[in-house]
Symmetry: C3
Subunit: 426 residues, 3 copies
């Protein structure tokens, strides 16, 4: 009975057309063109490398896409237990009619060619959107993205600010800022003005969020323009900053972003907990890890200072999930955002999902985002989440709390879609 | 079969009459008089506020109880997924014959009036105790509570010591101490004497525990009267202390409390992990959160120094649960106490309960306390716990370990009631 | 259906003959001779002590084995809920035909005598190995173990290095090192040479791993012989070191061990997170606990510096499990090793096992080791693990991911045995 119940709820959730509130889609090339686009996703390259495939083999300069896939296939057998590989299998069966249980050295070429043929169809992108039940897709745009040449109603811009906060000490970043804003930055006040230009540009092009990923030890504090002015002047004069000065500038820029989020009424997505380049010899995008010793108490000052800014918060680890639940339960401006990266596997999603649904106002829960780089991944990732969500709704609400199925399904739809519309005004 | 098994065990646990080993009941006004007493519980005000209701609306000075309930009702729809709201629904159906699925703007007035009528019955308190299966209820008394005017056999005093440890630097606290003890405190030795008077007063009035809640960064260490004497003299002379001096006094008072717990054979309830006033603009009692970066290793010196004092320990976060299990497994004087506050929801209780029941001597587990402010909450909160406990006993003991149902039920009754009697000698 | 599925998978896993990749077996006395050997295991002495039995009673000098068991039996009733006691019951029923539900003061003597009779059989050790399905057993040898007088094909040596890294400041350790290696250590270079001798000795006697347990705050860093030379000279000249100097020597020795693991191609087992002697008055081996505030980020430099050394990593707490999953998912040289000590109970194993099997290449998972001191414990401990593993395979793979039973069983066998062979080359 319980399995049938799960299935009925899952089917209802599967029928829902979605808005994906966080991806890394390139709107100029949203869908894949070869299987290498799909199997080049860092989950496969890093897992294949972790299982023994040399980085040099995976990332050989100028390698042909088909050759790259062939090399990765040699290692897939070691990964077939992972949920990440199940996403790949789902993609292959859903989009390319692939029916084999595994991808092997004897069947991959046929798969590659079939996929290439499908992907070459002129409406492939639309096919994928339709088959995946995707209505709109949030992007993650560099701050100097012109936001031109794509439909911003379908692909919703989002201002990504990591470079501004953590890499302004690089010449390149400062040059990009000047070029993008046409502001001649030389002091804290003009730096703030330039950042304001970015918000103007993004919101006038339909942006619905500002976003940043943050290291475990980051603690935002208020830094005024006066406090940082001489440091900003030094920086833009080309001087090197010491680590204290760099930190001060980071804090100032971050605080300024939060202020503009208030002015422009943009939610500020915080993705908390990643250390970059921990495994320095890893493959592209497969080098980042974390230190679980982090706490949302580090954001106390921020959450108190900006009651009018909504902070959709993602945490990298399941050990931070309870803090996220508690902080969202108490702070009106903190909402919970999806299941991120190293916590995006069923065991962690299940536990985190259960604890969220039972303790946080239902209007403050953004169930899931795909985080995808290519459109084909929305289907298997959301399906994984919908399966977990259906089980949680069946067990914790219908069985344990005696809810009607319909009521449970409504709750599922709210966290899957309704809250995305409300929280991001889209 | 498994669902029927769960139900049979649950029914047996439900039939047990309980002693509630930790509450915030006011014995002079133990039951509610209007629905505002119930819906004014911080869980509802803070969740309604978190979902969007203004603090000013909830806490308007002089607001009529019925008006307050009416305002809270406007937000309840956003919270109906939470387990906290399920407690409210249980109260309304069990005590006030309310049968609707939700409380809405169209049915709340009828509910309010029905409840008021019921609560106006002269024996309402006794009705609630009986219907809830409550035999005795532990209190949380201010250190200067006269402990008069109520039945200390039914409402068992407990010496709450937060003010002494963390707020002795306030004039008001020192004045209250002097008044309560009639000791003219001026040095470390008289401070210790005054604290001794409190223990004398409480134990002669039937107190069965000393209790304190502690911030995540607190680490008790031995501080002798000699070490702190000059600082105590300054303090009681009216001087301001710096943070180091304040900390020293806190440590001294805390250590002194532990010593008296040994002398008077009182268990010392430690509730570890809360930071007060994190969300400064929050509603009353809805401002506290935490930093999960805390460890029971901070209590190493304490647990070693007082082998004869029993420490029933509560932790605020499920990420501290494994430490609690391990420390109770090793230290004879550390016992596990309930599921506290932010960990008091089924997902956390389930996992924490399973890990405790399988690794700690069964005589060292206090299953649950309600932490309630009004009597009506014991029923739904204990029921939530009993449901989880029944499932854990059915799955982990009857099914997985082949125990008889009767043996599993006995284990359940021990952690629900038997251990409360033994550990608190009541 | 699901229970039958679990059972079928469990039976298949039970039929597998194993290599136990980490134990504390003494190969000269591998099996027990009386029930006191079994009930003297620290799990029982520490739990009985935790439940109220005096240390003096348990550890009375010269106490007769039967008398000791009799005393422990008086406390067993308080522990019968624990999984640790279920191991004991399994041993008694499997090896000694004991059929009672509990061990009590009225039946223990019969059990003791029956067991003694069985254990007195000359082939008892072989009986236990056979009945337990054990083919080979890894040891934990002191660095100065002569490794003589036993079959190193059956009992595989492993170089345990805690003393070298953390206790070289003791005279005794330095004397043992000199005696074992015949190297006259007086400087960093000769210290390194002596350590090299140990690796030569161990690997020439069939050692398959180097191992160490580490405190929560340990962070390995590269220390060169030059940096530490004068300190090592002082130490071996008999001078006392301050804590900074001691730490430097520890770091140097640890780094040197990792270097030799590379040279001799030995996996380096890291068992991360234990604080020794936290409960100072505890029974033998029942004094150690931990500080959960530790992170694998502390091992960043090590994992990067030794890409050719395989590090099978155990963590003491389930709150570190997600880090272990993530680090093993990213670093090719980090593999996951079993469920250690305070995390070796079903609630933690279940969650940790699920999260590992779904996110880490299957070739990088060492499912379990017994950590036993006496051979009789392999059977119940591995059975506990196999039961959990069977449930996870049934639910997460056969039911949720639609795998065939056979495929799920193959995955189970790989983590139970296949990976032990591959990773330790045995």
């Amino acid at each position: 009975m319980s399995e049938q119940l799960n299935k009925r709820i899952f089917d209802e959730l599967e029928s829902l057309v979605l808005i994906d509130p966080h991806t890394h889609i390139n709107p100029h090339s949203a869908a894949s063109t070869t299987l290498a686009d799909i199997m080049g996703y860092h989950y496969y390259t890093e897992l294949a490398h972790s299982a023994g495939l040399a980085k040099e083999s995976i990332e050989e300069p100028g390698i042909d896409p088909k050759e790259k896939v062939g090399r990765l296939v040699t290692q897939l057998g070691d990964l077939d237990n992972t949920i990440q590989l199940s996403w790949l299998m789902d993609i292959c069966s859903e989009f390319f009619d692939f029916q084999d249980e595994t991808i092997t050295e004897s069947n991959w070429e046929y798969l590659y060619d079939t996929a290439a043929e499908k992907m070459a169809q002129p409406d492939w992108e639309q096919q994928v959107l339709k088959q995946s039940g995707l209505e709109r897709v949030f992007l993650t745009n560099d701050f100097d993205d012109p936001l031109e040449g794509f439909d911003t109603k379908l692909y919703i811009p989002c201002l990504r600010t990591d470079d501004l906060v953590f890499h302004l000490t690089k010449n390149e970043t400062r040059e990009r800022l000047g070029k993008a804003t046409q502001v001649d930055v030389g002091c804290a006040s003009t730096l703030r003005e330039a950042i304001g230009e970015l918000f103007e540009h993004f919101t006038s092009n339909g942006a619905r969020a500002c976003a940043i990923s943050l290291p475990p030890d980051f603690s935002p504090v208020s830094v005024t323009a006066d406090q940082v002015d001489s440091t900003v002047r030094s920086l833009f004069a080309g001087d090197d900053l010491n680590s204290e000065e760099s930190k001060l500038v980071s804090q100032f820029v971050f605080w300024t972003l939060a202020e503009y989020c208030g002015v422009y009424r943009l939610p500020f997505d915080l993705m908390i907990g990643v250390n970059r380049r921990v495994y320095e010899a890893g493959v592209y995008q497969g080098q980042d890890l974390y230190d679980k010793r982090t706490s949302l108490i580090q954001y106390k000052e921020l959450f108190n200072a900006f009651p009018k800014v909504t902070f959709p918060v993602s945490v990298l680890t399941s050990t931070s999930n309870q803090e996220l639940v508690s902080y969202s339960w108490i702070f009106p401006n903190v909402v919970i955002n999806g299941h991120w990266w190293y916590s995006n596997t069923p065991a962690f999603i299940t536990f985190d999902c259960k604890s969220r649904l039972e303790a946080v106002p239902k209007t403050k829960l953004i169930g899931y985002y795909s985080d995808m780089y290519k459109l084909e991944f929305a289907l298997p990732k959301f399906r994984m989440y919908r399966r977990v969500l259906a089980n949680v709704l069946a067990t914790d609400f219908v069985i344990n709390r005696n809810w009607s199925e319909q009521r449970a399904i409504e709750l599922g739809k709210l966290v899957l879609r309704g809250n995305v519309e409300t929280i991001f005004s889209c």
